[in-house]
Symmetry: C2
């Protein structure tokens, strides 16, 4: 999939590897991240397959070694369009180290987990502030990029609501458990 993301960016503008990462961070950093370890091997593969072409640049007055500027080829544009108009097979995949733990929170100390949930709420409330501030920035972009940014804030809002709801439910559940313990205790004494 990253292959096509890179192809799409080169469809928009010629770039070298370092610039691709910069571009993604500036424009999609709120939802997507990428590493050089994914970029350079993919550029190499795309070049071998003839989907992109490469020119070594002799830039002056710039730091660092020579840039390798990549352009999408005709073949590349064709392959990109083919992919773009496919109806995607696989469903959305949500991976999160917090949610992975959440499933098993029944095995541990609920007080600690209420604390961790608090941390998550803080994190995503900060994210949301930043996203809302950036939303206006996308107005000049294509509606598609703007809509993706809107999805980001919606997801964020929904998740915060769910986190707060979960915290309440866990605290309620904990109090019920304590009550039950007290009752059992009394019976034992009696």
């Amino acid at each position: 999939m990253i292959k096509y993301a890179i192809l799409g960016l080169l469809h928009y503008k010629d770039m070298h590897g370092y610039r691709i990462k910069e571009h993604i961070e500036q424009n999609f950093g709120h939802m997507w991240s990428i590493n050089y370890g994914q970029i350079y091997p993919n550029l190499k593969k795309l070049h071998e397959d003839g989907l992109i072409s490469m020119t070594e640049m002799n830039q002056t007055g710039e730091k660092g070694p020579k840039r390798k500027l990549y352009s999408i080829t005709g073949k590349g544009k064709q392959e990109f369009s083919r992919w773009l108009e496919e109806s995607p097979e696989k469903p959305m995949l949500l991976r999160d180290p917090f949610l992975m733990r959440f499933v098993f929170y029944g095995f541990g100390d609920s007080e600690r987990f209420v604390e961790i949930i608090g941390n998550q709420i803080k994190r995503y409330e900060n994210d949301l502030k930043r996203r809302r501030k950036n939303l206006k920035r996308w107005d000049k972009n294509s509606i598609y990029v703007k809509l993706i940014a809107e999805l980001g804030t919606s997801l964020n809002e929904m998740f915060i609501t769910w986190l707060k709801h979960s915290r309440e439910e866990i605290l309620k559940d904990e109090q019920n458990n304590k009550k039950r313990e007290r009752k059992t205790g009394k019976r034992r004494i009696a």
Copy 2:
């Protein structure tokens, strides 16, 4: 992370590889999927590290080759608890072949994309029906498992709303573009 998911399931109950997949599909199939290619190598590694123990079973009256039943060890429980009480570092990661394409829809034929968005809406509306039906089933489980199921439906609802909103915005944008074309056409004639 899968390492800890498996450890968590074995914390709940002794299982062999095949059963682990079955269990995940029955209980978390709506949000999580796993393959034997992830399960068996992980079981092997966990066993080597002494976090789980293994007994070959001599089951009779059952199909297939001998099962290898795994149990979590004391060391495994310790390692699992350590992980469980960690505050997760990395943020949520949403990966979706549809959203990856969505970013680049400005490069292609909007009519085709409206069609694809329609397919997505159908898919997630079916998912939502299934999820709502299953929600009651989680009442008997731990509140954590139940809350995760609720998150699933919330995410689903939010995404459908966003898809419908996006479809409208794209159609509106298309009409604006056509109007602009007609105006430019007139000017050219005049």
